[in-house]
């Protein structure tokens, strides 16, 4: 009889649950914004950061160029994108010692929302282009350019240099002009592309098999050098507002 009673215990446990249950009674979210006035810094952490910061700032706070108007990142066209792609175009011609048709940069590769008018420092270029990417000169035919421009439309538009103009209706490329001329079959176009994209990044697999030349220089070093040279020649950096990606 006793044994029978005992054998009921597990059943009772199932019915009434012998172990405690932690019910989720409520969930409240209250995200905190870390703004300047909100609180003091953790002093011990601050003193741990300080020597690293000092070492960095000595190299980063060096002005290398002057910018006469704000540059802002946006898609598909932006002053930051035009400026950056033009630098890749112009600097790329020097690196590969040839005239190129255009240059491009994927939007995701530019990591700050803009650069304010005034001095441009080494640190800003590091923040703009923190990746250890390099440049490639890739040879594209008309069919490859069509794939590339379609990909750019798909991605909401990427920074492109002064050599390329594309018109887009809804999500279809209507016309492509390279150096002011319509796309020609059986022509090999020279395009400056970051290695990340040229090697198939951002789903650009179609670029992988194409003929190319590579340079070991990192893009940010290319940009820093280019800006220093411009400054030496007394050239000020400016915003270019031309639309290269035209929505019809």
């Amino acid at each position: 009889m006793r044994r029978l009673a005992l054998s009921f215990i597990p059943l009772l446990c199932i019915l009434y649950s012998c172990t405690s249950i932690n019910h989720i009674a409520d969930v409240q979210s209250n995200t905190v914004r870390l703004d300047t006035l909100m609180l003091l810094e953790d002093k011990s952490m601050e003193s741990k950061i300080a020597p690293y910061r000092d070492e960095l700032l000595a190299q980063m706070n060096v002005p290398i160029a002057t910018l006469d108007s704000d540059l802002k990142k946006a898609s598909p066209n932006s002053t930051l994108g035009n400026w950056f792609a033009d630098i890749l175009h112009n600097a790329g011609e020097k690196i590969f010692e040839t005239e190129v048709d255009f240059a491009l940069q994927n939007s995701g590769g530019l990591r700050i929302p803009g650069i304010k008018q005034g001095a441009i420092t080494v640190g800003q270029i590091y923040e703009l282009m923190p990746f250890d990417n390099t440049l490639q000169l890739v040879y594209l035919e008309a069919k490859d350019i069509r794939l590339l421009t379609a990909k750019m439309v798909d991605k909401g538009g990427w920074p492109i240099s002064h050599g390329l103009e594309m018109s887009v209706l809804d999500s279809t490329v209507q016309s492509i002009k390279i150096k002011g001329k319509p796309l020609e079959e059986n022509t090999s176009y020279k395009v400056i592309i970051p290695d990340y994209i040229a090697n198939g990044g951002d789903n650009c697999n179609f670029l992988i098999p194409l003929k190319r030349e590579e340079s070991p220089k990192m893009i940010r070093d290319v940009v820093i050098e280019y800006l220093k040279e411009q400054t030496k020649d007394s050239i000020t950096q400016s915003a270019i507002t031309t639309k290269r990606f035209i929505r019809l």
Binding site: A25, M38, L39, S44, E46, E55, Q59, P113, N203
Partner: protein, 304 residues
Amino acid sequence: MMKRRTFLDQMAKGGMILASGLPLGMFDKAEVTKVTILHTNDMHSRIDPFPMDGGRFQGLGGMAKRSALIKRLRSENDHVLLLDSGDIFQGTPYFNFFGGELEFSLMSDMQYDVATMGNHDFDAGIDGFKKQLKHANFDFVSSNYDFRDTLLEGQIASHKIIEKAGIRFGIFGLGIELKGLVPDALTGGVQYNDPISIAQQTALKLKNEKSCDYVICLSHLGFKYRENKVSDLVLAKETSNIDLILGGHTHTFLKEIVIKENAVGKPVCINQAGWAGILLGKIDVYFEKNKKSHCKTCKNLRVN
């Protein structure tokens, strides 16, 4: 919203909570415990606040400020979990120059419990990541990256279980597809597996086999996409047994948690805290402990 939270806080501190809108004394006492989940994502090497250059985020963020805030919140709350959803690396010269050492070291000082890996955490290669692991005294979890036969084999767990106030938290990680996003040379042979099926298996295991009361997914999949691509919203809808998804990758600033129905109609909370340490996500979860299956204080989480 604020008033109600304060009310709940006070009730929870008193160790007792009453069903609202009903006369006092009608109910037994219920033991309610609050666990505070703090979280970040996509901190992108933002050690210092954004510079005061007139930019959109000027003065925001900064790890020394975050540390002070976390210390204060720890002093105000008994049970705290501190989690990160990946992309710790890359974005300021601190990473280019010091390789992520300072990021891991400061996160250790703040007593992070668990983090997952984002795509940018591969930017110095998995050898670069491995080299910095000695500066991290918190754990990394990833369930859908397979590190077998890579330099990180045996160093990244699928999940971690943490107990706070007798409540078991099962925490697992999900990473984004690396192909096309991170060059093969940097991923060092890490294999990506479908996050949905892995999440389903892992969450089930944590709830049933490991008796976890609350399952948290640290996700670096992204909040949502225009195109048909796996995201936190898809993950929430297509799985069961996940209670909270803490996301990253899309740098999404959510004003408050998003609540969705999972595959079996139960609520899943989703949050993401912008990026660069501009926000610190704070989620208070209240647990009622009892020996019955009936919960006296439970609120129905409204899907939004």
